[in-house]
């Protein structure tokens, strides 16, 4: 399942990095609903969670600096494969897609449990996992829970909102974490889970060649039994939380957009509209 690249340097800091990547409905497209009011995830095109690109970029930079391997892990329906190809094109070495109808409806506790079981499986295959990197949050659920919860299931330290990984040495990783009004510098023993906030990483844009190479990279699909998941702890029934209602958020905005290459006319129209609507700037 796991390929080891012999070209990499054999130093002891070589890192086995797992990146959790969530395939999400394309944030640029409006959500689709089923007649019962729940989200129709299956009919929505899935892309890689935009925030996860920063985590992938951070992982790739570490691999480039220290050697090692970057393995992507996703839990999603089978049609998520295209989204995973995006991460592979960026440079992730290989992917594991955990896909099983019994996982549908999992909340964050159940999802983090399932993902932690995949990490455990990788751990025993590889002998060690040094870092588990996540995005800061997903664009569809925006919870930021999965990172700290996966860490809890694995019994590992975690740091959320990591702006930058400053240093990896002697079995420790030093990170800069965003907080209100500034930052913290934290030293954590590896293995550790980090959620990457992104502001210091610019995700690379794959070339056509990268895209083609990515087609040959391996995506292994596993089901719940393959990673010894206790199915009573996942899915709708294994999840402590229940969504009782969903509704479209009321956005009561006027949405008047002015585009005019003639700047005077643009301002005229805008100010006239404000007057019409009775809005006073002063």
């Amino acid at each position: 399942m796991v390929t080891v690249n012999s070209k990499q340097n054999p130093s002891s800091e070589r890192l086995n990095i797992v990146v959790l990547v969530k395939p999400v409905p394309d944030p640029k497209e409006p959500p689709k609903f089923k007649p019962d009011g729940t989200l129709d995830r299956l009919s929505m095109k899935l892309v890689m969670n935009p925030y996860d690109k920063y985590a992938v970029e951070a992982a790739l930079q570490l691999r480039e600096a220290l050697g090692g391997i970057v393995i992507g892990v996703s839990m999603a329906p089978p049609h998520a494969i295209d989204a995973l190809r995006e991460a592979l094109a960026m440079g992730v070495d290989e992917f594991i897609l955990l896909s099983d109808p019994r996982l549908a409806g999992s909340d964050t506790l159940a999802t983090s449990y399932a993902l932690s079981m995949v990490v455990k499986k990788l751990w025993s295959k590889l002998g060690k996992v040094d870092l588990v990197l996540c995005g800061v949050e997903s664009s569809d659920s925006n919870t930021a829970h999965i990172g700290p919860e996966v860490a809890e299931w694995l019994g590992l330290p975690s740091v959320s909102y990591v702006d930058k990984i400053l240093e990896v040495s002697g079995g420790y990783v030093k990170v800069k974490k965003l907080i209100e009004g500034g930052y913290m510098v934290i030293r954590v023993k590896m293995p550790a889970v980090l959620t990457i906030a992104g502001t210091s990483y610019t995700p690379r844009i794959p070339t056509l060649r990268d895209v083609i190479t990515a087609r040959r990279k391996q995506i292994t699909t596993l089901n719940a039994d393959d990673v010894s998941i206790d199915t009573s702890k996942v899915g709708l029934l294994g999840s402590p939380t229940r969504v009782i209602k969903m509704w479209a958020a009321e956005i009561k905005r006027r949405g008047k957009i002015f585009t005019d290459t003639d700047i005077d006319r643009l301002i005229d129209n805008f100010l006239a509209e404000l007057r019409k609507d009775g809005v006073k700037l002063k």
Binding site: P25, P31, L39, T108, L109, S139, D140, N142, T143, A144, H145, P148, E152, W153, S158, V159, S160, Y161, K174, K177, I179, E180, G181, G182, Y183, M184, V185, I186, R187, V188, K189, T199, P240, T241, R242, V243, I244, K245, M246, W247, A248, A249, I251, R253, R254, G255, K256, I257, F258, T259, D260, I263, L266, I267, F270, L271, L274, V279, L281, K282
Partner: protein, 337 residues
């Protein structure tokens, strides 16, 4: 009586405002539905802050005051909170949706094996009938939050696991008045941290600027982002002055050093609700939007017609801010004279 617990986050100035807001909201819900309100205070030298929590509405404060907690340490804090929860068995546990709350609460929830909802914009108490079993639950915590980048709202419950947990967005509830005639019980806990892995996670440095400017009472805010650059901020200041408003900023502008943190709007800045919010060269990332989306009127100036900020704007001016703002200033000055 069923208990509502509120995590009392401590910052240099004392109890963090978002925690006081939650004490206030918990008190309202408790009075209406028959719960008690307890605060959970963790840190070193924090015992002296317990009274403040009582004055704001807690009837009980659980204090874990220990030298190993002098710097925020996620693992020690989780340990302390979980031990108190296992003994006290609260029904509901609320955390502020600050950067601290949003990493601490899910760890506590996972260790307790319970559910949690992130970044709620409202919390209520209500009943629930399980559609599968037909079982009726009374007085559950309704955890209400936007999802899908803010386009959808969801109401969530945790019927069978305790505590029912949520983080709640700062600024949605107001800080309750301080009533020094209130009294309550303070319970101190001694927790043995010797089993914990001491060097596992260590805060080496904290840099936190204190906020000196309060944007919350401003009627007009003109905010600049990465697109404004230092030169743009000159224009933004000028426009703000002309309109009698304050200057705001995105985190990108603050991180670039163009303006101080005092002016930052958003998840890790201030939550503002002016009559008019003018976003200049700001893309509209969710972390910025949560801090300003309740402004009465939103005006956006951005050269990218696809910028997400236009989706929440009342008026959007597509174009170069360096052309638009000087013109706008010119026109407003003319109108004035």
């Amino acid at each position: 009586m069923s208990k509502i617990f509120v995590y009392a986050e401590v910052v240099e100035e004392g109890i963090a405002e978002p925690s006081l807001e939650l004490i206030g909201r918990a008190r309202e819900l408790a009075d209406k539905h028959g719960f008690s309100v307890s605060a959970m205070l963790v840190g070193f030298g924090v015992r002296k802050l317990a009274d403040e929590l009582i004055y704001r509405g807690a009837s009980e404060v659980h204090v874990v005051d220990n030298e190993v907690l002098s710097k925020y340490n996620l693992l020690f804090y989780t340990r302390a909170i979980v031990e108190v929860v296992e003994n006290e068995k609260p029904d509901i546990f609320l955390f502020p949706a600050t950067t601290t709350g949003r990493e601490l609460a899910p760890r506590v929830a996972a260790r307790l094996g319970t559910g949690i909802t992130a970044d709620c914009t409202a919390i209520e108490i209500g009943d629930y009938v399980d559609p599968i079993t037909g079982k009726k639950y009374e007085k559950l915590l309704y955890q209400i939050r936007p999802t899908f980048g803010g386009t959808i709202m969801a109401a969530i419950v945790t019927p069978n696991h305790r505590p029912q947990m949520a983080t709640v967005r700062p600024g949605v509830y107001s800080v309750p008045p301080r009533d020094t005639s209130r009294s309550g019980r303070i319970k101190e806990w001694t927790i043995d941290f010797s089993e914990e892995d001491v060097g596992c996670l260590e805060v080496l440095e904290v840099k936190r600027e204190r906020r000196k400017v309060d944007l919350r009472s401003a009627k007009i805010i003109v905010s600049g982002g990465r697109g404004a650059r230092p030169e743009g901020f000159k224009l933004i200041r000028e426009l703000a002055e002309l309109l009698g408003g304050e200057v705001g900023a995105s985190r990108a502008a603050v991180d670039a050093g163009w303006i101080s943190y005092d002016h930052q709007v958003g998840l890790t800045g201030q939550t503002v609700k002016p009559d008019i919010y003018i976003a200049v060269g700001i893309s509209g990332a969710i972390q910025h939007v949560v801090g300003m989306k309740d402004s009465k009127i939103i005006i956006a100036i951005n050269k990218d017609p696809e910028a997400p900020i236009f989706r929440i704007a009342d008026y959007g001016l597509v174009g170069d801010l360096f052309v638009i703002i000087p013109k706008l200033i010119e026109r407003l000055k003319v109108a004035k004279s």
